[in-house]
Amino acid sequence: MVKKVGSCPSLATYANEFGFLEGVVKTHYNDFLSSSDYLALNECENISDFIVQLNGTRYCQYVQHHRDDANLEPSVIHDAMMRKFVDDYNFLLDNAIEPLLTFLRFCTYGHMIDNTILIIQGTLQGREPARLIKACHPLGRFDGIGALSTARSAKDLYDRVLIDTPIAKYFEKAAIGGSAEDTLTDSNIELLRNSLHKHYLEDFLELIKELGGDTYDEMKPLLDFEADRRAINISINSLNSDITAEERRALMPRMGVLFPCGTDQLVNRDSLQGVGLALSRVDEYHHIFVAGSEDDLDSTVSIEDGMYKLETAMARQAMYRGFCFAPFYGFFKLREQEIRNVMWLAERVHLGLNEGVSKLPIIRD
């Protein structure tokens, strides 16, 4: 369903068309906090200290006006980091031309899906629209987002707002055995969310196939990993729920290293060991699973942590590539990971605990 965005950026004109932005993104790599920054942040006593530390990094202009406030919450830092992320992203977006523009927009569709789901849920519960929009992820905002909450019924919602958004086609695809309007009920909304993400990932894969070349070669492993992570998480998290195998299968992206054999196995497993068995063919995932499945309250490494570590490593590799769009995606993923990392540390610091740095995937040495 991807509209023609032009074929692979040819090497002859790549530097001319996208070289500047690639350079910009690669300088952003140096903006990431280094391991010594993390150690310094870990030594902080409170959030004010934290901000003083961040002041010595590239985040300085986003946190400096908070310096003198007392009783700061970790969310302040989240907001500041998110602002920088949005600014950097918007800079890229403003200067990009097709097909990079489409590619960059695709990176945010995940947030857009989450925001839409959030607003649908809130609307179904009759919440205040203004507050819902405030709660949305800033990168997932789109023009019609304010109108989402004006819709009174699911049909309204689809007809008026969603149909104009890039994610409308996912809604159409996600509506299995019915029209798109029927899917917007409260009960299956979490299934809908995951179904949307699945279609989004598959569509993303289509896009990079179309772009082809190095972009495809570099992006495929990243998207495959994303798909596999979804599949694994879904199968683990749905172990104790009443989701049927068929429903589960419908949520698994039809791509990834595990697809199709591994996915088939995952769908039919109903215990944690079974999931482990299904993962045993892929070394990386199996390692993560073994390390993370001894997951109790004391363990510091969970499956999610392992996944984040692997993702960070892959995204960092992608940052080094040239003449393709992978660095943009890598930047996206790394920035998200950095926000997660810093928030984790900030919350630990806020609680007065200072031993959280070891489990974080450090982006830059």
Binding site: H78, D114, I117, L118, Q121, G122, Q125, R127, L132, A135, D186, I189, E190, L191, R193, N194, H197, R229, R230, N233, I234, I236, N237, S238, S241, I243, L251, D295, L297, S302, I303, E304, D305, R340, M343, W344, E347, R348, H350, L351, L353
Partner: protein
């Protein structure tokens, strides 16, 4: 003993005394009972204080655990709080009020009722589901502790008030009512004794006077009797001498042997 220590408007009569004695007995019994109640309440109060202390200590740990679990969840699953909030349609935990009866004092008790609501289900299906589950569990236990603490604190306040009231009553009975009754009884007794003594003295005086009169009468009688006897004697003498003795001077005069 000043006038204010006695009950006002009491007539110092035996009937009042009797009534007051009954009252004194009742007051003492009431005092004993109230004292017992106060003791029972104090025991409970101490227990609650200890429980509050324990719960508060526990609370610190529990809340820290919840905050940690929340941080972990945020790390693994992103900021899910909005997602969860928008999903909630009915409360999954309800606090119900009950009443506990301690020595006639109704203490409010809060009970937490967790319904196995499914509003959480499938949240974080694609990321952090187990973390969210763990986070929910720790929060549920934290909520349990909070409700327990709230229950204890409310009981604490209420008990404190009741204990103060009871102690005040005990003290009032002990230091005001009972002494007052006792004083009144003493006063009445004094009064009655005084009256008795007065009566006694009066009786004594009367008896004395009566005795005197009897004696006087006796003496008068005696005198009269003596006189009569004398008269009789005179009469007899007159008879003996012939003729009534009319002129005793003549008697003397007629005797020549008498020389003056």
């Amino acid at each position: 003993m000043s006038g204010q220590d006695v009950l006002p408007n009491t007539l110092p009569t035996r009937m009042t005394l009797q009534r007051l004695q009954v009252r004194l007995g009742a007051a003492q019994k009431g005092h004993r009972l109230l004292k017992k109640k106060a003791d029972a309440l104090t025991v409970r109060f101490r227990q609650i204080t200890k429980d509050i202390y324990d719960t508060k200590m526990e609370m610190g740990n529990v809340l820290k655990r919840t905050a940690l679990a929340m941080a972990e969840t945020r790390y693994a699953a992103g900021d899910i709080s909005q997602v969860i909030q928008q999903k909630v349609s009915q409360p999954s935990a309800l606090v119900r009020g009950g009443i506990d009866n301690i020595a006639g004092v109704h203490l409010p008790v809060f009970n937490l009722e967790c319904s196995g609501s499914t509003s959480m289900q499938l949240t974080g299906l694609s990321a952090g589901g187990s973390k969210i589950e763990k986070c929910a569990q720790t929060h549920r236990s934290a909520l349990d502790t909070i409700v327990k603490l709230a229950s204890l604190q409310t009981s604490f306040l209420k008990l404190d008030e009741v204990i103060k009231l009871t102690n005040r009553r005990v003290n009032a009975i002990e230091n005001v009512v009972i002494p007052k009754i006792k004083n009144t009884i003493q006063m009445i007794k004094d009064h009655l004794d005084e009256e008795e003594r007065e009566e006694f003295t009066r009786m004594k005086k009367i008896v004395e006077k009566k005795k005197k009169r009897i004696e006087m009468e006796k003496a008068a009688l005696e005198a009269r009797r003596e006189m009569r006897r004398l008269e009789d004697d005179i009469d007899t003498l007159a008879l003996m001498t012939g003729g009534p003795l009319e002129e005793p001077a003549d008697l003397i005069g007629g005797d020549d042997d008498i020389v003056f």
